[in-house]
Symmetry: C3
Subunit: 133 residues, 3 copies
Amino acid sequence: MIIQDSFKINTNKNFEIIDITSQINNLIAIENGIISIFSKHSTSAIVVNENEKGLLNDLEFMLDNLVLDKFSYQHNRIDNNARSHLKSFLLSSSESLPIKNRKLDLGTWQSVFFIELDGPRHNRTVTLTMVGE
Amino acid sequence: MIIQDSFKINTNKNFEIIDITSQINNLIAIENGIISIFSKHSTSAIVVNENEKGLLNDLEFMLDNLVLDKFSYQHNRIDNNARSHLKSFLLSSSESLPIKNRKLDLGTWQSVFFIELDGPRHNRTVTLTMVGE
Amino acid sequence: MIIQDSFKINTNKNFEIIDITSQINNLIAIENGIISIFSKHSTSAIVVNENEKGLLNDLEFMLDNLVLDKFSYQHNRIDNNARSHLKSFLLSSSESLPIKNRKLDLGTWQSVFFIELDGPRHNRTVTLTMVGE
């Protein structure tokens, strides 16, 4: 069985981390299988980790340290968001996760996050593709 | 057909790389399809690369250079393992891989690894979700 | 329904980014589902982002800055390509993506890329595993 769905996200800051775990669980429509969670944007990311405010600030700090502001990126001649794309390369725009008993089969300390790397933006789209039974 | 399984890993060091390729192959119960390999912990990772001792030491070295010890991370006020989480963000906690003829369809020089980033720990859980026929 | 396919890539430079979106779309043989796109090599990567020449140069630049040349990597005693492997760890060797109406369901600015990190090479293999209906 294949079920496809999607939802929209509006973001309010340049860098913003949004916990989408319960939004995904509400849309799960199979009992067991795999779900692909995919962001249709190349300046955002989908990741799994712990929802702790300090840690999420540390993630922003680390990304700023890995993709330094001091360099002149070529993409900025076209659109001034090269660093947003480069951070997205490091985190990736999708996750494929297990579904068990009609919900994400995550560990106790795990959440799924949408990461806005070039906001604020309206109508960011996340697609869900469930394969299972 | 959906098959779900899992296994446990005990780790002995703070940073440890464990080749789980044959453990996964032994649990594969479909002929062809996709397998999601997922670690239920946010201070660990699942990756695919070459099993060469020197390279695996280089990986540890690179991660320590990317997530520097000299900064004071906010998450460390809660739990002294911010760097373990941040390395996990860079590597990701899952892989979805092809199954062909009842085994992982990897290249000659590829293995699947569980990476412990905050050990030693007992009962790390890796789940396997196979979709196929 | 499970469909498995693959194609070969020849690369001409040490670092090279090849847009494989239309090649994948031409091989899609299901209507809706998930496709696993997997490179059978541990010195390459599969990523999703924008096909803009300047940005792709920025990606090469960033990776060279993250995996520095000045260190002496242990893997180089065996094979002089430790940095190629380490870049592959950061980007990952697969992507699992949604298929809708017999094509990749990507956003307007998204392409799928094969990234050569240790070329030039002949016969790089990318496998496609489609699960759906």
